[in-house]
């Protein structure tokens, strides 16, 4: 499909659950090397859209094309094989396995032989700064989030989807995590990140999509988007559980 070399092209994606329309006609074009943020208040449809991109949710309408392949209805496994990796909002590490074994599960995708997979896993763990031999269940939440990133990285994705992987961290942990994401991005991985922490969005991303009630209400650079009246109203104009995005780094956003 002649699309000028877009890595990911999601057009008119919508998702209905029964009568409820979670996402209505969202578009997202990602070029190789981009780092894009998806934000929106709770219930805005960001997570649903994200899950459509990751292959966990089949959209009710629209198309998602990755690297020339139509992945609209493809399974999560097919997404991974095509080169899309993802993390989960609530860390879903393999608790009964060690850290390195967790990462090896990811590494096996491109390295079927155990020794190669182990080497790959070690390399990724060095990058992410985790100790290989501890049990995954002994990690705290920041460690688990980091492990999930490592595990997804081990599948050698071209596009990495991060689902609130930087939430709930202390200020110093957050800085480390931002540095890690930047490092991953610089190594050539395109990134789409769902986040509620303004600092992450402002400092890391170059382009932001703002969702509200299933629609994309704004799209542009972080600076411009944050000033748009529609966006401000979406966050401040209604009562919701989550406080509006706070530019100060200490706020995890809930």
């Amino acid at each position: 499909m002649p699309d000028g070399g877009k890595l990911l092209d999601a057009t008119n994606v919508s998702k209905k659950f029964g009568e409820f329309r979670a996402v209505a006609g969202a578009d997202l074009a990602v070029n190789a090397g981009d780092i894009i943020g998806l934000i929106g208040p709770n219930g805005a449809g960001t997570s649903t859209f994200f899950n459509c991109l990751a292959g966990e949710t089949v959209p009710s309408g629209g198309r998602i094309v990755f690297d020339g392949k139509d992945l609209t209805r493809a399974s999560p496994e097919a997404h991974a094989r095509a080169g899309i990796g993802r993390t989960f909002q609530v860390p879903t590490t393999f608790a009964d396995m060690s850290v390195i074994h967790n990462v090896m599960v990811g590494a096996f995708l491109r390295h079927p032989h155990r020794n190669d997979a182990r080497d790959k896993a070690r390399a990724v763990l060095e990058l992410t700064g985790l100790r290989p031999d501890q049990p995954a269940r002994s990690l705290g939440t920041p460690g688990r989030k980091r492990l999930e990133i490592a595990r997804a990285l081990a599948t050698e994705p071209r596009l990495l989807l991060l689902d609130e992987s930087l939430a709930g961290l202390t200020p110093s942990e957050l800085q480390e995590a931002i540095a890690l994401v930047r490092q991953i991005h610089q190594s050539g991985v395109t990134i789409v990140i769902v986040e509620h922490i303004m600092e992450v969005i402002m400092t890391l991303t170059r382009h932001v999509l703002v969702f509200n009630q299933g629609h994309v209400i704004a799209s542009g650079t972080p600076d411009s988007v944050v000033r748009e009246p529609a966006v401000i109203e979406a966050y401040l104009g209604r009562s919701h559980r989550r406080p509006p995005p706070d530019p100060s780094p200490a706020n995890g956003g809930g």
């Binding site: 990751a54 966990e56 399974s75 999560p76 496994e77 997404h79 991974a80 094989r81 990796g85 993802r86 989960f88 879903t92 590490t93 393999f94 608790a95 009964d96 396995m97 074994h101 090896m104 599960v105 990811g106 096996f108 995708l109 079927p112 032989h113 155990r114 997979a117 595990r151 997804a152 081990a154 599948t155």
Partner: protein, 328 residues
């Protein structure tokens, strides 16, 4: 202390003990328990592949055991085959059945699979009881007198013991092999979180099917070994729920998803079963199963990882306490 209990040494000692057991304890009673123990360990280890490692809890595995048991005797009674020759046929049938069960249920949540295994095992059990071709409620018998060595009817338990031991060793070797390879990693990932596994490119459904097929094949072999030794099968001894239960409890007690868990479980439960059968006499089997039910509930409630997990939790503390006493 840790040096003395190194895993490799333990395995060597265990293997040696198993090898000389029937020569040292040569009475019929001891050999019989030994053979029963090996058979139980084989069945439970086979179940362990899909139930322990992959976390797909089959509670109707007797369907594969029964297939493995009936097929050799069927080929013998109908066409005069030596029972042993029909073992490959039994394996093929078991794998075929595993596909029938796995295909629809593995795309649904885990409970469907478990329910399906009970339902199909019962279905087959009842149906077998009505089908004259396979002996209906009376069952089938094997060769009473050997026509040659290939009928494998030995008067002593000894050859059976070593035959079963070889099969057990082979099964454990296969399990150990897959445990360290990609397939084993994928099984454990699936057990831990299918969702995460999928996102990493693990072909979840295909992997589960392979695990089930492998498990079914070995369970079928266990069934075949059983009839080769006892020379008789009927719907209850082939497809009964208690066979399924025994496999599950032995694996779970020792530690489902570990290489030696089923062995340890069998080591404890088979002598225990023999003891309760002796103590409680006629009502023995009833009480044995009350005990089994109770043990399963306790395992589920307090230590799903079985003795293996329990040992891992308690051992470091024990070691520390022992060290303190030494230096006190």
């Amino acid at each position: 202390m840790t040096k003395i209990l190194s895993p490799r040494l333990v395995i060597v000692v265990l293997a040696a003990a198993l090898l000389v057991y029937p020569l040292v304890l040569s009475g019929a009673f001891y050999r019989d328990i030994g053979v029963t123990f090996l058979l139980a360990a084989i069945s439970a280890s086979a179940w362990n592949i899909v139930g322990g490692y992959a976390g797909q809890v089959s509670v109707g595995h007797s369907m594969f055991f029964g297939l493995g048991a009936y097929t050799p005797l069927l080929f013998y009674t109908q066409w005069g085959w030596p029972p042993m020759a029909a073992i490959p046929v039994a394996i093929a049938l078991a794998i075929g059945l595993s596909i029938v069960i796995g295909m629809p249920t593995f795309r649904l949540t885990g409970h469907y699979f478990s329910m399906a295994t009970i339902a199909v095992a019962e279905l087959i059990r009842i149906f077998t009881g009505t089908w004259d071709f396979v002996g209906a409620a009376i069952g089938l018998q094997g060769p009473a007198i050997a026509r040659g060595w290939w009928d494998l009817t030995f008067r002593s338990e000894l050859p059976y013991y070593y035959l079963f031991l070889v099969v057990l060793a082979f099964l454990l070797a296969v399990t150990s092999f897959i445990e360290r390879r990609r397939f084993g990693f994928y099984l454990r990932a699936i057990k831990s979180s299918e969702r995460a596994a999928r996102s990493l490119g693990v072909p979840v459904r295909r992997t589960k099917m392979q695990a089930l097929a492998l498990s079914a094949a070995f369970t079928s072999v266990a069934g075949s070994l059983y009839v080769i030794k006892t020379g008789f099968i009927d719907p209850d001894s082939g497809f009964g729920i208690l066979i399924s239960v025994q496999m599950v409890i032995i694996a779970a007690l020792g530690g489902a998803g570990t290489l030696f868990g089923p062995l340890v479980g069998a080591l404890i439960l088979i002598p225990l079963q023999s003891a309760t059968n002796t103590w409680f006499g006629g009502g023995g089997s009833g009480l044995t199963y009350i005990l089994y039910g109770g043990i399963i509930v306790l395992i589920a409630r307090f230590e799903p990882g079985g003795l293996f997990d329990l040992w891992n939790r308690v051992a470091p503390g024990l070691r520390g306490a022992l060290r303190k006493r030494r230096h006190a």
